[in-house]
Amino acid sequence: FQFQEHVLLQFLGLDKAPSPLKFQSVPYILRKIFQDQEAAATTGVFQDLCYVKQLGVRGNVLRLLPDQGFFLYSKKLSQASSCLQKQLYFNLSAIKEKEELTMVQLGLDLGPNTYYNLGPELELALSLLEEPHVGGEGEGGGSSLPKMGKMLALQSVPWPQGVLYFNLLHVAKDWNNNSKKNLGLFLEILVKGHRDTEVNFQPEDTCARLRHLLHASLLVVTLNPEQCHPSPRKRR
C-alpha cells in the first residue's frame, strides 16, 4: 500500500498540499465558528453544516482572502486632503465554479480601537476600478490615478476606528461570473478635519499611521450544492 496523498487532498478540495509563504492571522469570527463546531461535535449536538449561524447565511466553506493590492502614491493627489490611496485586489480563483456565493464581506481594519490617540475625522471612499492601473506601484510610482467606476461607499469615519465592514456580495458575484471584470477596488481616505479645534494634530502622522496599520481582507462564504441540499421552502 502506497499512501496516495493527492487522492486525500482532492477529497479535501485541494489540488496539492499547500505550502503557504505568508501566514494570515485568523480572524475572531472564523476562530469562533471553528470552536463552536468543535464543541458541538464533541457533545454530539446536531449541526447543520450548510448554515453558518454566527453569520446568519447558508454556506459550507468560509474563506478569508488577503488583499493583494498596493498603495498608490500619485504625485498629484485628487484632493489636498487625501490621506491614503490604495488599490485593493482579491483573487477569487480559489472559488470553484459550482460554489454559490452567499456572503462577501470586505473588512477594513484601520488600526486598534483606542481613545488615547484621538485624531482627525476621516472620510472613506470605496469605488470599483474600471481599468487596470498602469504606471507602476509603490512609493514614487505612478503619477496618474486609475479609472474609477461605481462608488460603493462614502462614509465618515469617526474615532475610534477599528474594523469597518462592507457588503460586496453583488460585486463579487459579478466578478465571479466574469473574472476579467475583477480589476479590484479603489480606496481613498481623506482627512475631514478635527472635531476638537483646540487639539493640534498632524495629518501626516495620522496618514502615516493609517498606511502602516491598514489591513484589508475579504470574507467569502460559499455553498456547494453537491454537499448541501437547497433550504426547504417556507410554508405560506
Binding site: S19, P20, V26, F34, Q37, A41, G44, V61, R63, Q227
Partner: protein, 114 residues
C-alpha cells in the same frame, strides 16, 4: 437445522477502536491551522450470527448473517460505522487564503454489523 455458534471472545466482537490521526504524521501541520489532528476511530471485530441482534446491527445484517451460516458463499456481516460525525478544519491554501471547511462523516462514533 441448528446453526453452530462460532466462538468469539468479547474483545473480538465488532466494536469501535480508538485511532487518532495526527496531521504532523502526514506533514500537514505546515498548512493546517487547527485542529492538530482528530480522533477518527475505526470499526473492527467479528459479527457472529448469534450476536448479530445485540451488536447494533441492521435488519439486513441479521439476514446476511443467517444466509452466511446457511450458505458459505455468502460473506459474513461485517463490522462497519453506524454513526459518524463531522469535523471542521481551518487551513491555509496555496493562494494564502485562510479556509474554514466542514467535512461530514469523519469521526466514527458507533460501530455495528452490516
Amino acid at each position: 437445522s441448528a446453526i453452530p455458534v462460532p466462538k468469539a471472545s468479547c474483545k473480538n466482537l465488532c466494536h469501535r477502536h480508538q485511532l487518532f490521526i495526527n496531521f504532523r504524521d502526514l506533514g500537514w501541520h505546515k498548512w493546517i491551522i487547527a485542529p492538530r489532528g482528530f480522533m477518527a476511530n475505526y470499526c473492527h471485530g467479528e459479527c457472529p450470527f448469534s450476536l448479530t441482534t445485540s451488536l447494533n446491527s441492521s435488519n439486513y445484517a441479521f439476514m446476511q448473517a443467517l444466509m452466511s451460516a446457511a450458505h458459505p458463499d455468502v460473506p459474513h456481516a461485517v463490522c462497519i460505522p453506524t454513526r459518524l460525525s463531522p469535523i471542521s478544519m481551518l487551513y491555509h491554501d496555496n493562494d494564502d487564503n485562510v479556509i474554514l471547511r466542514h467535512y461530514e462523516d469523519m469521526v466514527v462514533d458507533e460501530c455495528g454489523c452490516g
